[in-house]
């Protein structure tokens, strides 16, 4: 009983918190691109589910998690493009269209799973890749430098995304299109093209998030994500549309999930109480939404389709 306070358990729990945060981190980084460009993509969970199935199934067939991840990315690319067509070209109401993508992904991934796989078979996961030297540092080494490559890549994506959004021409265009599409349009920026690119990046990252989730767990089942894609959307608000804020939110979720898991498996407190603990991040997010609504401003053109001269 006292052993949950031992160093080994604490490090293992924090380390699994980092792992659990990664799908949320990838999905919400992607969603941040779309939202910065003025498009709210509510279909993240559906894209994650199909990416998860695609990644799982490919890994099952090829026994290579990397090929699986690539297929997850490809599925995300396709669904990101589809979402762009609906939201950007067909000017659909963004608060609803994403629910269509979600239901499609939820149904389709389950359908394909039942039809092509049936009984859940485990797949090989990504190998751990401890970073030489750094992983030998006591505590920190095991915590931060002893993960699989996709996890390092996900965290590397944070500074990369920050750089793209703040320092590149493309990122400037994304922000311009999300704040004032009319002005951007008059400057010769193609609102449509920029939004397509931003939403598609979001799709690719959502597909990757799903694939990493499924391959990381080594299994697939109906509704595997259990609404993580929706949480990812809220985390973008939580993180005030900044990659670093998004990371903070994802880590809060990941850590709490890890602690809940620990409490459950060790049976320290009555089973029900871990569900109560699982409620905490959701409640925190709701409160954070209230604070965010006061302190931070959403991209001005968020959810508003752009019609030239309209």
């Amino acid at each position: 009983m006292a052993d949950i306070f031992s160093g080994v358990v604490i490090v293992a729990t924090l380390s699994s918190g980092i792992r659990l945060a990664v799908p949320l981190l990838l999905a919400s980084l992607g969603e941040a691109f779309g939202q910065r460009s003025g498009v709210l993509n509510l279909g993240v969970d559906g894209i994650m589910l199909l990416g998860a199935f695609g990644g799982y199934y490919t890994t099952l067939k090829t026994q290579s998690p990397w090929v699986g991840l690539a297929v997850g990315l490809a599925i995300g690319l396709f669904l990101g493009l589809l979402s762009s067509v609906v939201s950007v070209s067909l000017l659909a109401e963004q608060g609803i269209s994403g629910i269509g993508v979600y239901l499609f992904g939820l149904g389709m991934s389950d359908l394909l799973f039942q039809r092509l796989v049936g009984t859940p078979l485990p797949v090989p996961s990504f190998q751990k890749a401890p970073i030489p030297l750094l992983s030998d540092i006591p505590v920190v080494g095991d915590l931060i430098f002893n993960h699989s490559i996709p996890i390092y890549l996900a965290f590397l994506a944070i500074p990369v995304c920050t750089y793209i959004i703040n320092r590149t021409r493309f990122g400037m265009n994304i922000r311009a299109v999300g704040e004032n599409p009319e002005a951007a349009d008059s400057q010769g920026i193609s609102v449509t093209r920029v939004r397509y690119a931003a939403v598609t990046i979001g799709g690719v990252l959502a597909g990757a998030a799903g694939a990493v989730l499924a391959i990381g767990l080594g299994i697939f089942q109906q509704n595997l994500t259990n609404a993580q894609g929706f949480i990812a959307i809220a985390l973008v608000y939580f993180g005030a549309w900044r990659p670093i804020g998004v990371m903070a939110g994802s880590l809060v979720y990941g850590m709490v999930s890890a602690v809940v898991l620990l409490l459950k498996t060790r049976g320290i407190i009555p089973l029900g109480a871990s569900d109560l603990a699982a409620m905490i991040p959701a409640v925190i997010t709701v409160l954070a939404l209230v604070v965010a609504a006061r302190r931070f401003r959403a991209p001005t053109a968020l959810t508003k389709p752009f019609i030239r001269g309209g």
């Binding site: 000017l91 608060g95 609803i96 239901l103 109906q222 509704n223 809220a234 029900g272």
Partner: protein, 393 residues
């Protein structure tokens, strides 16, 4: 809104036809894709759809199942309609169903030795209140704190699931489950006085579908025949105009989401009180309890043209799809999840075609005004999915 003269009958008819055909086109499109999917899964689309239709509507028993499946879809759909009409987007149907069901369960568990005439209305009422609270929270957050209701309703779905898992695993768990050590997260059987009355003893059909239809009619009356409903719709059409007319936009936003949540809460309540086991069970997810009705209700509302009365046949059709899917699975080994995927496509088609329809109408309006050379007020920012042209249904 644009003023209209007598010379516009032709184009007006065209846009009217277009507005009615959008949902139909959407369903046809989804079915066409469904047919392709069936073919790819190695099933004959025609025999597949025929099996579905027969399974859903082909016999008395099938119709009973369809009516039962349609009930939550109708109630959630009507709730979605109220919210959308007031220009608030409620995607918290799942959470509101769960909170309504939990409230009903808690009240029902306390109703041992209370006659049905009191126990049942109280249990149902608790569901309405539970859902209403779960709707009022995002309503108040939007009206007074500027929190986007899409986000808050999503997050409250998550909170509701965890609350359900906690309540059913700890305080509300069937004492027998602890005694036997099985610990299945479910309540004890609710008192018989809270069972929804059956039409035929030993049958399946309870009064839930009748309640749902009555509620849909009531909501129609509320929205189109009362001042309160007029205010909701006015706020939905133009917040600024409504504010200028002295209406409180904030209060109406809260009211719309509260009512909307109440409908989903009632749906959840009926799901529990009318369940075969007469108890609430969780598999850890919302979908396990709601069967995605909180989202599928959006589909029925859209297909019903955001009109409470049209939502009745719309729900019956989509309820039929869900029931028919089981027959399809038996006949052609196609998983029932197919219907969920098709529902998603219906949503995508409806929202994609909706803007197109509106653009066509605006173009027609502009042409009319050019012909009439009369001045028109420009409807600068059309409200989501509002149907200004056929409001009196």
């Amino acid at each position: 809104m644009t003023s209209r003269g007598p010379s516009e009958a032709g184009p007006r008819l065209r846009t009217q036809l277009l507005s009615y055909s959008v949902p139909a086109l959407a369903v046809l499109g989804a079915f066409a894709i469904g047919a392709v999917m069936l073919a790819m899964l190695g099933a004959n689309p025609f025999t597949g759809f025929w099996a579905m239709a027969k399974g859903a509507f082909g016999s008395g028993g099938a119709l009973v199942e369809t009516a039962l499946k349609s009930t939550p879809l109708l109630l959630v759909g009507v709730g979605i309609t109220i919210a959308f009409r007031a220009s608030v987007i409620n995607i918290g149907g799942e959470g509101q169903m769960v909170s309504g069901a939990l409230a009903s369960t808690i009240v029902a568990l306390g109703m041992t030795d209370v006659p049905a005439a009191i126990a049942l209305p109280l249990a149902l009422g608790a569901g309405v209140v539970g859902g209403a609270i779960w709707g009022a929270i995002p309503g108040a957050l939007k009206a007074y704190f500027g929190v986007n209701e899409i986000l808050s309703t999503i997050m409250l779905n998550v909170v509701a699931v965890q609350a359900m898992n906690w309540l059913l695993r700890a305080p509300l768990i069937d004492p027998m489950e602890i005694e036997r050590g099985t610990r299945i997260p479910q309540t004890a059987r609710l008192p018989e006085s809270t069972d929804l009355p059956l039409f035929v003893e030993g049958g399946r059909l309870h009064i839930g579908p009748v309640i749902a239809v009555l509620v849909a009619v009531l909501v129609y009356v509320l929205l189109w025949r009362t001042t309160s409903g007029y205010r909701l719709r006015a706020v939905g059409l133009s917040g600024d105009a409504a504010r200028y007319a002295g209406m409180s936009v904030e209060r109406n936003v809260v009211w719309a989401l509260t009512l909307s949540g109440a409908m989903s809460g009632l749906a959840g309540s009926i799901l529990v009180l009318g369940s075969e086991g007469h108890r609430m069970v969780t598999d850890g997810s919302t979908i396990g309890f709601t069967g995605s009705a909180g989202f599928n209700g959006i589909v029925t509302a859209l297909f019903g043209g955001l009109h409470p009365l049209w939502t009745i046949p719309s729900s019956f059709l989509f309820g039929g799809l869900l029931v028919g899917a089981i027959a399809l699975q038996r006949a052609a080994q196609v998983p029932t999840a197919l219907v969920l995927a098709l529902n998603g496509l219906v949503v995508l088609f409806v929202v994609s075609l909706d803007r197109y329809r509106r653009q066509v109408r605006e173009r027609e309006d502009r042409r009319i005004s050019a012909i009439a050379t009369s001045s028109t007020e420009d409807d600068e920012s059309p409200k989501p999915l509002s149907r200004e042209d056929d409001d009196d249904g």
